[in-house]
Symmetry: C2
Amino acid sequence: MTSLLSPDALETALRAIGEERYHHKHPFQLKLNSGELTKAQIQAWALNRYYYQCMIPVKDATILARMESAELRREWRQRILDHDGESDDEGGLRRWIALTDGLGLDREMVESTRLVLPATKFAVEAYVHFTGERSLLEAIASSLTELFSPMAIGARVTGMLENYDFITPETLAYFDKRPPQATRDSNFALAYVKDHATTPEQQQAVLDALIFKCSVLWAQLDALYHGYVAPGHIPPGAFDPAKDG
Amino acid sequence: MTSLLSPDALETALRAIGEERYHHKHPFQLKLNSGELTKAQIQAWALNRYYYQCMIPVKDATILARMESAELRREWRQRILDHDGESDDEGGLRRWIALTDGLGLDREMVESTRLVLPATKFAVEAYVHFTGERSLLEAIASSLTELFSPMAIGARVTGMLENYDFITPETLAYFDKRPPQATRDSNFALAYVKDHATTPEQQQAVLDALIFKCSVLWAQLDALYHGYVAPGHIPPGAFDPAKDG
């Protein structure tokens, strides 16, 4: 990039990245939505994605720790409250456990994260490290995949309820709460980057941060596809539906 | 683990992990050795593995920075010399470039690492972070995959020379130098962990560090297999042999 974009042109460029690279287009996601996956494959997805869910508040706390204004921190801390709730009975993480429970996975096994694919852990930890090591602007920009999540969640919930008899509205409770939270959060982050990316270099860094984050999500589904969809190559020590499902 | 192993029993346990989890058993590696891969698939392997090679001296410098004794640092610094050489014409990294050159890959593209799979970067960076964040004992233990590399290199070189007409001894120069270096380095690291893992908890940490490192190598081949071997799912933005090969 050589010239400065207007804030609205920056937004257009960010949305174009999402359209091309967000994981709503990943073959695993398309199979999940259209009823082509087995219960075992959906178990593997829910188990691995639990690790991502677990690390979201850690990622947000990493970003929070870098914000030097109370005003910014007041905005960002809400993300941690949403995921962690006020007690063990609530919050986004707890609602993800309703999904793994509903899929018949052992709760202790899920919460231990010991059967999660190494590739899931590597991708998620790359995200957490990114938010601690890059500029605050890039860390905030990396959250912008949430611009696209309400649309993906809509297709996912509709598809899963329609296509799998073991999926109920209760097991998908997580997704009820997320769209308004994601919209609120991504509106804030989008306004922030449009306001603070004031040089071509900063704008490129913002675009690259979103590309990076899309690759974090995409790589997780690649690993699930490789491990659990045909031909199926479960790495040593990872969740094996034949014995752990 | 509940009881303390003898140093030799610890070594036996480490070798058993390698036998089960080292990447010499990975389907991609077996296909590489037996002539079942295309030149494009081998290009993808060499390009991605270059990123791993690049980060090995960074990993070793991370470990070096944590060693408080000159005696230890004198041992460990040799690894950095081996990879970086005395000039741009030598060292392990340079010899890897002989391989990517021999495969017809553009050197600027390779050295930029811009077409490397995100999953490769995530796995390799997890390794670098591990060596900075865990105990020095675990960081050293994570290098013990080198115990198994001479055996794997032997099978790889023999297989590749036999099975691919575009592979010559010159392109595989990297592998000539590595077995004696790996043997020297892993003998040192093995003696160190046998000597310093003196509680059951430390021994378990050493075993877990080797399991972790095996998963770093395994995940890289999983990503290559998924991206470039049938059915082939190249992630957005990664090396595409049809246009980058």
